[in-house]
Structure formats: structure tokens, C-alpha cells
Subunit: 251 residues, 2 copies
DNA sequence: GGCAACCTTTGATCTGGATCAAGTCAAAGT
DNA sequence: ACTTTGACTTGATCCAGATCAAAGGTTGCC
């Protein structure tokens, strides 16, 4: 059964070439030969179960991680035992970029559901990126995109009302799922209302009430964690404050 | 007057070697010879007057900028004509990292006072960083640090009270000024109350009232834009919510 | 199956900070 | 000196969303 051996060998190493999220991830813009060299350093991490940690705040930084399937949340400890959810990570998204500078993780990452990940030892990635310019370019892009994403969150937290925040969140999920070839109008949220609220700077109760209101207004159908978006245009205008009679704030 | 010619030649090009902010900027970790190659691509930008734009939102991304003297604010347009201040940039800090991915600026940058800057054409920097590994490393660090900084802001905007926010802001300025060899307890704020409030997600009036309260409580002396910090420890505990009888929030 | 822990919803109330509304003050021009 | 202008302060009021309270619903575990 030589055939079988080859197969099992193949499944032990990562195959970015065939990975469904390759186009969103590090291989973007690389030549096939270069992707091969990337595959050589990427490790397949043991799958995580819901609640398992990928790393914890304070851990030494060793690797970046890419979600292959499932989803992960990251969160930072805030004063007095509270925590701030920093993001929800979907397949193809890279986790850990904030730890490069300090060489230690300042936040924790935990699986929201059973999830598969790739582990990329950072020193080897850094080394490889010195010899593959397009990999370096992609790294710069990914780091920069992370900054842009956080900038968007600053705007959300600094300026948007509760109603705008949740609409923005739902649409953001919708767009990211669509990029991954999933339905942009019918999906499952793997995080709790509490986690959504925490992420958006809102109380759980506010999130719950807003979902109810959106549903009453015919913008979406909400059944527990299952969401169906009905009126994307209305959500879009809600999300940037151009909803019915809305005036800008002064600050 | 040969002497004079040499001098004027020297002032035309950038001299990172002698730059007072070099240790915070790109040259950190480079060999002298490598710093020289960096100097070759860095341009001295024409000084900006208060109110001048470094770039505007929508501009094509060409260069990163480093503040040499003065200060710059960056801000993004928010819905309905409002704006969100994203940061205040002091000497040694790099501006524009968020634009790498989209190849366009999503925010504007404007001088808060007369300011000198270095301009670093990004394509040339990218190229140089493929041949100087320690420059690449420093770029990764700087990008990562930018992410960490924004993460801190997410926590501030998501979880902190007005009182905590302003204390955090004042201490953050203090620490950054100290790193630049300036007094951490006696300084001038180049931005207006309005801009501080916008940055922190607060109304101008709230900022003003808090400064008054801090002063009444003997934490600092505030005279217009001049700030003297008196009780750093008290400010520190205020800034992370461990002030007098403070309970954590639930969300 | 049945209990326990947790998540979500819904209603009532409370409050931190926004908004509204006058001033006050300093720098710059006339 | 006197007005203008814009930034800052201070007081009064208001409100979005937090907090408190109390049910239901789910899920998982023994």
C-alpha cells in the first residue's frame, strides 16, 4: 500500500496549495515554488476544542497562527479582572501579530468552537521573508490591514451608537463570511451575546434588545445564534448613521 | 569658504546618525553602514505649519513619515461629516503604516504646530528591507507596536470611564515625552480640548470638567495647555480603575 | 431523566456623560 | 483701549444605554 503511505505523509504536512483560505492568507501573491517553501515551515496544530486556549496573555511569543476552520476569539485582560474582547477570527485570519514587538502575548486567544489551525514559527517566517520578497510584501500588507481593522474599531467605539455598532458588526461578519465562500445572509454566530457586547462596548442586554428590534423592523431574522439578513441596504445605512433622522455628534 | 559648503551640503540630507529620535525610529538595531543606506532614501520634507496637511484621506500612499520635531494628529472621517481623531504623533513616531495594505490613505494627517518631518518613500524602504534583515525586523516591530497601541485604545474606549480615559491619556503623554528626554511632569499639550475629547470619545465639556477636577484634587496643575503633574501614583491608579472605590463593569 | 449552570430575553430604574446654554478669557486685529 | 474670534469653562438638563431584577430557554452532565 504505497499509495496509502504517500497519502498519509501528505496529510501530515500542511498543503497551502489546496487550502481553501490560501487566497486570504500568507500565500497570496507567492509563486507555487515559494508556497512550497512556506509549507515547509508551517505546522499543523492540534485541533482545538471549544474553550481551549491557543495562547494566553503573558505567554512568550513564538508563532503566528492561522485559523483553518472554526473560529477563535482574542481578548485582553482589563483592569479589575474584566476583559476586553479584541476580535473574532475566522478561517484565513492570522492571530498574534500584536505580539511581535514585545515578544510576548498581551492577549489570550481561545477557540469558540472546534477549530483547526496552522502554526507558523515566527523566527522561521521572518527568515523566509528575507529571501522571498513577495512574502515580505504580504506580511507588510497583513500587518497594515490589521491596523486598518483596529482603526475601524476605534471609530466604532469612539463615535457610533449602540444601534450602529451592532449593525456594523453583523454586516462585517456577513462580508467576511462571503469572502470565504459562505452565505452572506444566512449564518451562525459562534460567539455569545455577552462576547458580542463586550467586543462592541455594550451590555449584553443592549445587544439582545437590538437583535429583537432589528427583527421587529424586518431587517433580519434572529433565531438564537442563527442569523438571516433580510434587508442589507437598511442595515448598511443603519451602520453608518444615515438611518432615519440621525444627526451627527459634536465630539 | 569650503567649510561652509560642506556644512550646507550636510544639512540638505537627512542624518539619522545624529538624529535625536533615531533610537525610537527606523534606525534602531541597524549597523552604522546600514543606517547610511537608509539615509540615502530618506527625504527631508518641507516643514509644516500648524494646520498644514501631511496627507489627506483618499490620497495615494507613497511614503511613510516620521516626525522630527513638533506634533501631528491623524484622524479619519466618520459618517455624517464628523471625524475621529486616531492619534497624536510625537517626534520619532511613524505615520502612515495603516495605508500600506490598501495603497491609499484612509485618514488625514495635519500638523498641530510647526513641525519637521522625514519622508520615506515606501517602495524604496520595502526594497531596502529585503536586503537589510535588521531593517525588516524593525519594520515588523514597528507595525506590531502600532497594533498594540491601538489595542490599548480599544480597551480604553471599550471599558474605561471618562475619568480613567483622561488620566490614561495624560500619563501616556507623560511617558512618551519622557522617552524623548523631556520632562514627564511638566509639559505643553499641542492639541485642543476638543481634539482630546474627540480622541478619547468624550465631549469637550467632559474633558474640561475633568481637568478642573484633577486640579481640585491636587493631581495636577492645569494652566491652559500647560500641564504639571503632581501626583503620578494617584493618576496611575485612576487610569486603571483602581481609584477610590471603583467596581468593574460587567460587559 | 432531571438538575445545574449558563445564556438570553424582557421590563423597570438609574446614571454618567452628552447636550444645551451662558458666560469667561486670551490672543490678534483695528 | 475696544472689538472680534475662537477656545475654554461652568451650570442646568436630558437621555442612551448601563444596571438591577426576574423570568424563560438551552445545554450539558451525572
Amino acid at each position: 500500500m504505497n499509495q496509502r503511505n504517500i497519502l498519509s505523509f501528505e496529510t501530515l504536512r500542511v498543503a497551502c496549495k489546496n487550502c481553501s483560505v490560501g487566497a486570504l492568507c500568507l500565500p497570496l501573491g507567492l509563486e507555487p515554488e515559494e508556497v512550497g517553501r512556506l509549507e515547509d515551515i508551517v505546522k499543523r496544530a492540534r485541533p482545538l476544542q471549544r474553550g481551549d486556549f491557543l495562547f494566553r496573555d503573558g505567554d512568550r511569543f513564538r508563532s503566528l497562527y492561522v485559523v483553518k476552520t472554526g473560529s477563535v476569539k482574542s481578548y485582553a485582560p482589563s483592569a479589575e479582572g474584566g476583559e476586553q474582547v479584541l476580535g473574532f477570527h475566522l478561517p484565513g485570519e492570522i492571530i498574534g501579530l500584536d505580539a511581535i514587538d514585545k515578544d510576548a502575548h498581551a492577549c489570550s486567544a481561545k477557540a469558540l468552537e472546534t477549530s483547526a489551525l496552522c502554526e507558523i514559527p515566527f523566527p522561521r517566517l521572518e527568515e523566509l521573508s528575507t529571501v522571498i520578497p513577495s512574502l515580505q510584501r504580504q506580511m507588510y500588507r497583513l500587518l497594515s490591514k490589521e491596523i486598518s481593522n483596529e482603526t475601524d474599531m476605534l471609530l466604532l467605539l469612539g463615535k457610533k451608537s449602540a444601534e450602529e455598532r451592532l449593525a456594523t458588526f453583523v454586516l462585517n461578519m456577513s462580508k467576511r463570511l462571503q469572502q470565504r465562500g459562505l452565505s452572506p445572509t444566512d449564518f451562525h454566530l459562534s460567539m455569545s451575546r455577552h462576547e458580542i457586547g463586550n467586543y462592541l462596548g455594550l451590555a449584553v442586554e443592549t445587544v439582545s434588545r437590538l437583535f429583537t428590534r432589528y427583527q421587529d423592523d424586518g431587517l433580519m431574522v434572529v433565531d438564537r445564534k442563527h442569523i438571516q439578513l433580510i434587508d442589507l441596504d437598511a442595515l448598511e445605512s443603519l451602520s453608518n448613521g444615515s438611518g432615519p433622522t440621525r444627526q451627527q455628534q459634536r465630539n
